[in-house]
């Protein structure tokens, strides 16, 4: 077949990229080879627009065993235990087919974890939808939530935390990010690097079908009005087969037979085989007649580009084939030797006794295009919102409206569709500051959380980058964990647009600054560009997944008030920053100004002192303060414990809106016993920590100064009504 301009463009390649292919091959590629280049050179697989920026991120601290570049990041949590984790996007497929898109997002991220030798122990997600009034939202929301649940519940990994948010920026491009966390023995971690020539390359798992062909290329372009036609590029998930594959791989990993192993994710067989050969500086030869196919007459092109799920590629030690085959037979899975490693440094494909493709591995990997795209610095809004100039809204009205808004109403209608308890080690579930998972049969736990702040990142990408890392850190501190490392999922618009690229570049700098200061490095992640439709780019929405360690199970803390008549302290200073707050954005629909500044020194000092208070046993409950300010933090503490509060606003800020709704950073609410108060006051003063004593807990009634008095029961009703009305449910 003659390669025409149309064919090149339909593969998502630019003409100059095609010239580069010809130059690297020293000839024209055939159609199959073009398909393979398109699969490897698209944004999703090659990171061609993001690499120059990602290099700036800190990737090491004393706990990091493996940083970015492998299937997932690995950290040391002591006693030979390692935690392996990563977050990944499945935005484009989920918009086209919400159930399968979300389900296979979960399946894909789980494979990244168990490929490395970890048994997955927790799933998290961050999902963003358009305006609830947008006609697509309801269907997308219900499809995505049941897809996430459908996969995780069946395979039996608890879904323990997440966030569900709404904003019109996602009307035509939702975000579905899934994170998986696994536990491994740090001496038995498996990598994708091939070693040795003439080693058997084995295909295991599901059969290959025609689903998901060009999935990664589809995810590397914007949507337009014909996006519905892309449905065939969405993969179909089978969690039961994934469960079999997981158990079979983990069983094989107990033996000494695997040289390297790689899951077939985006760009399927192509990327997995190229990745293994590239890392090992080897060649790889595959006989496509051997590929287990689900459908008849599949062409080499279809086999190489299929993104059928639940498949793995393994390179075995000599003489271990039978041992390995027996294990996969036990689990009723395909196990076929489809090729071998070679010293040619080529990807070489045979089909029906002919060589159908020969491509140098480095042309697909290290020589893939890299772009330092043009970017422009964000022009920051100089406006400041003056609350006194806005139309008057009653304090209690504003509070109730926010508490019952889609973004801040109770999310149990989401989390109750996820099995949070399977595996029997979930200590803190969804709705907590961070989820806490016990390490099975050990006296320690990990804390995990996901966070994003698209409004902040849109109005000030640099500051927003710092804020999301800091909020993640704060969430882990609040449950008594020492934060260790993060994974990030960077959801942005079209990188060919200099403003979008600027948002990306500046945001990375913000993330970098906070990660360095807090010793909280990035060990894995994923970039998703081209989130937008018809030139409308989404708000920059980086999502941070954080992992921390709790060494002593007795020191786990949560945000539920414990007692009546405890004192309530705010650690950290309240300035009353309202620009980009929930109050101003959602109540007044004003988007001027910049988000609150993050002072990393205060962040660190305040966090460390809260951790010390928890470890000394001085606090009854802790909650970090984030969107919605002090009032929402207090409401969440009351709602989860059914204990009320009586608060007096300190005199220094005259405006109650600024005091209670301000979103200044680095703050925590802590509940302390009156008996401990003087010890705590001394500790805080000795460490120069700013704090305010703002009131006490009380039975039933939620009272703020003279401006609000209601019952916790009423708050509960307000907080719970939105979804039922939205979805037309009775109960």
């Amino acid at each position: 077949m003659k390669i025409t301009k149309d064919i090149i463009e339909s593969h998502g390649l630019k003409l100059d990229e095609y010239s580069k292919i010809k130059q690297l091959l020293d000839r024209e590629p055939n159609y199959l080879e073009l398909g393979i280049f398109s699969a490897m050179w698209n944004e999703h697989c090659s990171y061609k627009s993001s690499k120059v920026h990602l290099k700036k991120l800190p990737i090491k601290n004393k706990n990091v065993i493996q940083g970015p570049g492998e299937n997932a990041g690995v950290i040391d949590i002591g006693d030979d235990d390692a935690i392996i984790f990563k977050i990944e996007s499945h935005n484009h497929p989920s918009f086209i087919e919400p159930y399968q898109g979300a389900a296979t997002g979960v399946g894909g991220i789980l494979r990244d974890i168990f490929t490395m030798g970890a048994r997955p122990i927790a799933l998290l997600n961050s999902i963003h939808f358009g305006d609830p009034n947008n006609k697509k939202t309801k269907n997308l929301l219900n499809g995505v939530v049941s897809g996430i649940g459908g996969y995780g519940n069946c395979i039996g990994i608890p879904t323990v935390a997440g966030e569900t948010k709404f904003h019109k920026t996602y009307n035509e491009n939702i975000l579905v990010n899934a994170m998986a966390v696994g536990l491994a023995n740090k001496k038995k971690i498996f990598y994708s690097k091939a070693k040795g020539i003439n080693k058997a390359v084995v295909y295991v798992g599901s059969k290959t079908g025609r689903d998901g062909i060009h999935g990664a290329s589809m995810a590397s372009a914007e949507f337009d009005e014909n996006s519905e036609d892309k449905k065939p590029t969405v993969q179909v998930g089978d969690p039961f087969t994934e469960k079999l594959l997981m158990e079979a791989c983990l069983e094989l990993m107990k033996k000494e037979s695997i040289i390297s192993i790689q899951d077939m994710g985006a760009a399927g067989l192509t990327s997995s085989s190229v990745e293994m050969a590239h890392k090992g500086n080897l060649g790889i030869e595959l006989n496509l007649d051997k590929i287990p196919c689900r459908e008849e007459n599949m062409s080499p092109y279809e086999m190489m580009l299929s993104e059928s799920q639940e498949r793995m590629l393994i390179i075995l030690e000599d003489g271990k084939e039978n041992e390995a085959r027996e294990i996969f037979k036990k689990w009723d899975l395909d196990f076929v030797v489809i090729g071998k490693t070679t010293d040619t440094k080529n990807l070489s494909l045979k089909f029906q006794k002919k060589i159908v493709a020969t491509i140098p591995i480095d042309a697909l990997s290290s020589k893939a295009p890299l772009y330092d795209r043009k970017w422009s610095k964000k022009k920051l809004s100089k406006k400041k919102t003056n609350i006194k100039e806005l139309k008057k809204i009653k304090f209690d009205e504003a509070f109730f409206k926010i508490l019952s808004s889609p973004n801040h109403s109770n999310k149990k209608w989401v989390t109750e569709q996820y099995d949070q308890m399977v595996m029997g080690d979930t200590i803190e579930r969804s709705g907590a500051n961070a989820a806490v998972i016990k390490i099975h049969n050990k006296d320690k736990a990990i804390a995990v959380t996901v966070d994003s702040s698209a409004n902040y990142c849109k109005s000030h990408p640099l500051s927003g980058g710092k804020q999301i890392v800091s909020e993640s850190w704060r969430n882990l501190i609040s449950v008594g964990a020492k934060p260790i490392a993060i994974t990030n999922c960077l959801n942005f618009g079209n990188p060919e647009n200099p403003e979008v690229m600027g948002e990306f570049a500046e945001n990375i700098l913000g993330v970098k600054e906070a990660c360095e200061f807090l010793d909280y490095p990035v060990v894995s992640g994923n970039v998703s560009f081209y989130n937008g439709t018809n030139n409308n780019n989404i708000f920059p929405t980086p999502v941070i997944g954080g992992v921390g360690l709790i060494k002593n199970l007795k020191k786990i803390q949560n945000h539920r008030f414990k007692k009546i008549d405890s004192k309530i302290l705010i650690i950290g200073k309240t300035f009353g920053h309202l620009d980009q707050s929930v109050l101003i954005n959602e109540m007044y629909n004003v988007n001027d100004g910049i988000p609150p500044e993050v002072n990393l020194l205060n962040e660190k000092n305040n966090g460390e002192i809260v951790l010390k208070l928890i470890n000394e046993g001085f606090v009854n409950s802790v909650h970090d303060i984030s969107t919605g300010g002090i009032i929402l933090a207090l409401a969440e503490m009351s709602l989860s414990s059914q204990i009320g509060v009586k608060i007096l606003k300190p005199k220094k800020l005259s405006n109650i809106f600024e005091y209670f709704f301000g979103e200044d950073q680095s703050r925590y609410v802590v509940e302390v016993d009156k008996n401990n108060y003087f010890k705590i006051e001394k500790l805080l003063k000795d460490n120069n920590i700013y704090f305010e004593n703002i009131g006490v807990t009380q039975k039933d009634s939620f009272e703020l100064d003279k401006d609000l008095k209601t019952s916790v029961k009423e708050l509960y009703e307000i907080n719970n009504k939105w979804y039922n009305n939205f979805n037309g449910l009775i109960s």
Binding site: C154, Y418, D419, M421, M423, G424, D425, I427
Partner: protein
């Protein structure tokens, strides 16, 4: 006491049940679904999960498996059988327990902690609970909406074959605290001989106060004594 946990390829609560049994001093063995022999056991547990994927009706394929023939044989000779969640669905499909488990009334998967009232404790699974005890266990299922015919329902009620019903914190049993639409708020049932219990809630998830609570221990301890 010897216990056996049946492991299907898609079981996912097998480890959790084994952890509970071992913690409570059962001598436990795991048995793979392809095995044809059961070790000598006083209790056989069919755990939660998705047996063979359950893309067909939940438990339908598992009910026809080799190992289930052995379980049925053991059940008929009086061995105690406990089916939890998917295990309950499988027991229904084998006919060891009667009725049907339909999709939840909300047509959604439901996972949450629910209150249960101990309606009948005059059986080997519940004797350590007091009658009318209110306990808090976790549910996690898509098809837990129990249904049966009038005659059988009357038999269940009259013969003390309903150990647990869904209720609220205070113990009142009505439609508002029925999570899945089960007839008469039924959360679990026994066979006539009272040696087989099928229940949707997961007692094995409630054996540790750090994780959740200890309300599930009563069930395992009843069996032990």
């Amino acid at each position: 006491m010897n216990s056996t946990v049946i492991v299907f390829p898609g079981s996912n609560c097998d480890r959790d049940v084994a952890t509970a049994l071992t913690k409570l001093q059962f001598k436990n063995k795991m048995v793979w679904h392809k095995d044809n022999n059961l070790p000598k056991s006083d209790l056989i547990v069919i755990p939660g999960g998705f047996s063979y994927g359950d893309y067909l009706r939940s438990g339908a394929i598992a009910a026809k498996s080799n190992i289930l023939k052995e379980v049925i044989r053991a059940a008929n000779s009086g061995c105690l059988i406990l089916g939890i969640c998917n295990g309950f669905q499988i027991l229904i499909e084998t006919g060891l327990l009667q009725g049907a488990l339909l999709r939840n009334r909300s047509l959604k998967f439901i996972s949450k902690d629910v209150y249960l009232k101990v309606i009948n404790n005059d059986n080997k699974f519940c004797k350590n609970y007091k009658k009318n005890n209110i306990i808090n266990l976790n549910i996690a299922h898509n098809e837990g909406n129990y249904f049966t015919q009038k005659d059988h329902l009357k038999e269940l009620e009259d013969n003390a074959l309903i150990p647990f019903k869904y209720c609220d914190k205070e113990g009142s049993i009505n439609d508002n605290n029925n999570p899945n639409g089960s007839i008469n708020n039924i959360a679990g049932i026994l066979n006539n001989k009272k040696n087989i219990l099928g229940m949707m809630p997961h007692p094995e998830r409630m054996i540790d106060s750090l994780i959740s609570n200890t309300d599930g221990i009563g069930l395992f301890n009843s069996i032990l004594n």
